[in-house]
Symmetry: C2
Subunit: 414 residues, 2 copies
């Protein structure tokens, strides 16, 4: 057995213990939260080594910022763990069933998925967040973070593993892949014998690689080429306010707006207001010819490539369309299925848009930035699924479970 | 674009129309059921050509039997379609949500998956069954059956497509892949741009090939190495009756029992009764040394390979175990996660077995043969999922849907 296979086998064994000893999960998470704070100095020391190595390797400032821990960030991780520990147990909930005419009782109950693999990049806080959510849902987890954060991740994982043992659970409920080479990621993607699901958390490149290569079932997260369609009847001031928020309140996240489509009948009135709002944050507009005609040459000409792009930056693609149908066509063609919004006062247009746009979250008169587990009332989230199988939209604890049927009889045969 | 890609694009367009025109689905299915009966002679004529070609190619009798249609089988297909048409619409059901503190209404509703691919083997009735279930759940479907049934499938598909058009829906809601080569299956498995999910229906070889090769998300169905564990406290007569039913009432199906584990304390008393029952159907036992000691040399010595095998035949693997724990270990090691049962009068043993066995259906004192959509109250089923992602156990209409979030606001920003 390779090292990865051994980890898989240990995770599977740990998952079986968790299925029996689920009552200990929350205590373990509270203990882990305590331990993170208690071992703060060690974690920060390891993190400083990662940061030094990262600076030497020439990581960008924004990557270094994602990598950096601080007492406040560690406190945040611990706080997140306590919050997850406090949620109701998502496992063992009856969610369906029936009594068969022959008297058998059939109950569908939630169960853990089993063993979850997470492949992520440079954020060490993902280690604690993902471990907490997976564990609360009764799963063993194998974490494989980026090489930039390996020392921090190792330190955080060691602290959590200690807390698990203290609480009477196997340390192997949470394991970290020590080898951060591409080969280890590739091996993990094909660990079908041990992994029940693989969740990549990171940029579009990582997610594409996992979807291309993995034979383990994958939940795709994150890619968001989100559209806002400004209908003819939209309130221009509200439109400008929502678009500014959706684009510029945090451009690096997947629920940020990347494209605005404006109905031709509203373009003359709405586009200047949108531009004025975006100017306050120095957002650059990439626009279609009509947009440039109205807003002038400060608008960069949009190319075909623009419409499919997720900028994750202070850039917005803008296109004038002739009708709701044209907007729906454009969205069907270019959307990644994350979040789209219509701004309108027209009841029928709102209804059609919500019915026909095939995305995880479809808004009327609100910012796409709300697509988030916390905002949608799920508590925490492990990512936002842009696929349709198993989970769609923000994934909370419920999406980290499966079901099984329990059938109780007294001799029934068919 | 290749022919397969063109089919994908047409299916995707048809799925968008279905999302708008969902009200027409059931009428289309009733019309298709009518049409199947009305065009019975054409379908039977094509089926006779398939059968003749199959005989020439030397298909086994059991394959020819699966391939054969008759007026009764066509009536059964039509009846199945009407039943599916009569079910409540699985699409558009609110299944969650909340009102955000800022006043936005957030509703989670069921939606179609989109485009479903089905790869199946020689049973032409799958064409009608799968089309009906996919369509009722609002999905377009691309069917790819085995070459043995191509004429029958073409004829059935043509009839359904005609009924769809009559009902005002695009014929391309249901498409049949004309090319039955391996290459067409391989291309379909990688049609990620158009297919939302792929469901293989058939033998273990087909399912393995799809899981190995597909980049489209797959729902695994079918493989059932199902175990019955006879605990020390089991009622011996009831055990014999249940095991006979589970093994021999229909050995070729995935919920048939393949292995029996017997607690050592019950072996002397129970094994002869089990054997006597199985003898009435000429079931051959492959047993461990202890089983052979008790039952004699008519028992074929079981090899390691036996424990992982799905016989789908009048063969049963039998092993004596020393404890519930040993039974749980054996099942964890060899089960395909389909259906397992414990026969016991011991409350704690029943409870532990149901909690710790990680299979889609876990029985106490009943036959594994009940794992079926109809028996579990789902109406019809498109297969039995042995994976944990998205669907587990019998898959009905609900499992052919996804969800989306609809958010209605009046200017909210974050």
């Amino acid at each position: 057995m390779t090292e990865m296979e051994q980890m898989g086998a240990r995770a599977k064994a740990a998952a079986r213990v968790l299925a029996r000893e689920g009552a200990k999960k929350s205590a373990a998470l509270f203990a882990a939260a305590e331990a993170l704070t208690a071992h703060q100095e060690e974690i920060l020391a390891e993190n400083r080594l990662d940061l030094a190595a990262g600076r030497e390797a020439g990581l960008t400032e924004s990557l270094l910022d994602r990598l950096a821990l601080s007492p406040a960030r560690i406190a945040g991780m611990a706080e997140g763990m306590r919050a997850v520990a406090s949620f109701p147990d998502p496992v063992g909930r009856p969610v369906g069933g029936t009594t068969h005419p022959n008297g058998m009782r059939i109950t569908k109950v939630t169960v853990p998925l089993g063993v979850i693999g997470i492949i992520f990049e440079a954020r060490p806080n993902v280690t604690a967040d993902a471990a907490a959510l997976c564990l609360k849902a009764g799963n063993a987890v194998i974490l494989r973070g980026g090489k930039e954060a390996i020392r921090s991740n190792r330190s955080i994982t060691a602290v959590i593993r200690g807390a698990l043992e203290q609480a009477g659970l196997p340390a192997d409920c949470v394991q970290l892949v020590q080898d951060t080479s591409r080969a280890s990621a590739a091996e993990m993607m094909n660990l079908t014998q041990y992994l029940d699901v693989l969740i990549p958390r990171g940029g579009a490149g990582l997610i594409r690689a996992v979807v291309e290569q993995a034979r383990v079932p994958v939940i795709q997260t994150g890619a968001g080429n989100c559209h806002i369609y400004v209908d003819a009847s939209a309130d221009p001031d509200q439109a400008a306010k929502i678009i500014l928020n959706a684009k510029a309140s945090r451009p690096s996240v997947c629920n940020a707006c990347e494209k605005v489509l404006v109905h031709r009948a509203a373009a003359q009135k709405v586009l200047p207001k949108i531009k004025a709002a975006l100017d306050t944050k120095n957002v650059v507009i990439h626009g279609c010819p009509e947009t440039r005609e109205i807003l002038g040459s400060c608008v960069v000409p949009a190319t075909e490539e623009d419409w499919g792009r997720e900028y994750l930056d202070y850039i917005l693609g803008v296109r004038v369309v002739g009708s709701l149908d044209e907007a729906l066509e454009h969205i069907a063609k270019y959307s990644t299925g994350h979040s789209e919004a219509i701004l309108t006062q027209d009841y029928s247009a709102a209804r059609r848009f919500q019915q026909e746009v095939d995305s995880a979250a479809v808004y009327v008169n609100a910012s796409t930035r709300f697509t988030d587990g916390g905002e949608f009332g799920l508590g925490a989230e492990i990512g936002i699924s842009t696929q349709k199988l198993h989970a769609r939209g923000p994934m909370g604890l419920e999406q980290l479970t499966s079901v099984k049927y329990l059938i109780e009889g007294d001799g029934q045969i068919r």
